[in-house]
Symmetry: C2
């Protein structure tokens, strides 16, 4: 199921790593075997190598594999360097304090939304716990905010990767519908999620754009229809734009080796 064009060994190893991580729980050899498509012996050696390397841990009694601590180490470095996370932290805190709502910071990765950081509606800081999660782009505020900034082949490629699965009654399920919404978003610089991903959950998102116009990521304010409304969210637009601009400013001095797509 996990497929890479990679003939290389490391490609396979990393695919296995992804697979184990994707399970979200310790996973036994046999489970991986059926899903991976690799022959028994190959998968076995791959797992062996990865555990030797500390990328995976294997409970000797359960014989279940889980991501290893080395990954946690690398994760930190990745988050600190490859993402907007550290640069945006202060601004997210500020926006969280000002609005009291849930805040998301995301980047575009392979046509999908990769959440980088988050502030919960109530609780203040929690580090990169929620970070690293991936979600769909076509039906989330941050996703649409970012897609709207893409053009030409990059946009095409990203749209091709959308599943357009219907999550709620208001999910945009066709490329045409999405494209129309993206037009609006591009002009307004703000994207609404009108319960398109989860019923009762609405959100307002703004893209984070480098001075040159290059897309860096997106911020969003999320709330519920029970507690707020699209109209009320719209009032937060300026604050949100402001936050996005400040993050962009913080990122400006940095040569950002990041190509969204």
């Amino acid at each position: 199921m996990t497929e890479d064009i990679s003939g290389g060994t490391v490609g396979k190893a990393l695919a296995v790593l992804d697979q184990v991580a994707a399970f979200g729980r310790p996973v036994r050899f046999a489970e991986l075997l059926s899903d991976s498509g690799y022959p028994k012996a190959t998968l076995y050696r791959l797992l062996q190598t990865l555990t030797d390397q500390g990328m995976l841990t294997c409970d000797p009694v359960t014989q279940a594999y889980a991501p290893g601590l080395r990954l946690v180490r690398l994760a930190h470095a990745a988050w600190a360097q490859a993402s907007l996370g550290p640069l945006a932290r202060a601004e997210l805190d500020a926006l969280s304090a000002r609005t009291g709502e849930t805040i998301h910071l995301a980047q575009l990765d392979g046509g999908q939304v990769l959440y980088i950081d988050k502030r919960n509606a109530r609780n203040p800081v929690d580090l990169f716990s929620a970070a690293g999660k991936v979600g769909p782009a076509y039906c989330t505020g941050v996703g649409k905010a970012m897609l709207a900034q893409l053009t030409g082949p990059a946009l095409e490629a990203a749209l091709d990767r959308q599943s357009f699965h219907r999550h709620t009654a208001s999910t945009l399920t066709t490329r045409a519908d999405l494209f129309r919404d993206l037009e609006t978003i591009r002009h307004s610089g703000l994207a609404f999620d009108r319960e398109e991903h989860e019923p009762g959950i609405i959100c307002l998102a703004a893209p984070i754009l480098a001075p040159g116009g290059q897309l860096l990521g997106a911020v969003s304010i999320t709330t519920t229809t029970a507690r707020s409304s699209l109209a009320a969210l719209a009032d937060l637009g300026p604050a949100l734009r402001d936050t996005a601009a400040r993050i962009a400013a913080a990122a400006a001095p940095w040569r950002f080796p990041y190509r969204p797509g």
Copy 2:
């Protein structure tokens, strides 16, 4: 400089990954070349592969490599599964609320302290730590708390990996000194950091032990000599022990594929 016994390709690739991550900033090919010991062509292909795989990003203009977003993705899974993080969260929040001081959660990884989570003090001080970061074991509260629980070859191995670099006047710089302190810690179940790592920073740590006595990790309360004292910290001992015990309890039902070392 980065050395692995690994003859395997993935081992080398991961070593390179570590290396890039360790730099903490985008790195150019030549810098890696000198430090890695690999021949030019080899390193080149390794980097190529890793960037292809999304584990690294390479700024096309600067030609500088940095950790890639794929690592951020993996981060989530790793933190959620391989660490005490999710299990301890509630307890850390509680302890943070009760004491108002900086709280650290750490695990032992390769003889070093791997910080898993953190709560900031109400009036935050600047100090060296964040989730996923690694630090020395011999001169930190959490480190010593954990080392004290090791015995026999595991302890030897861990001690062998300590650098015993002097950070402050009170740093324990010999194996013998540390060993003596560990004895005390083992008996009391609490470890003090008496400004051993950073001047003015003190801390009290307790190990997190599974029912069977297996070492899982450690929690600590950190403060400054300006604001508090070792004596005052000692008063928090029971609360800290309690927190550690609760985390251990939360972890008990979970088959923990984690061997400290």
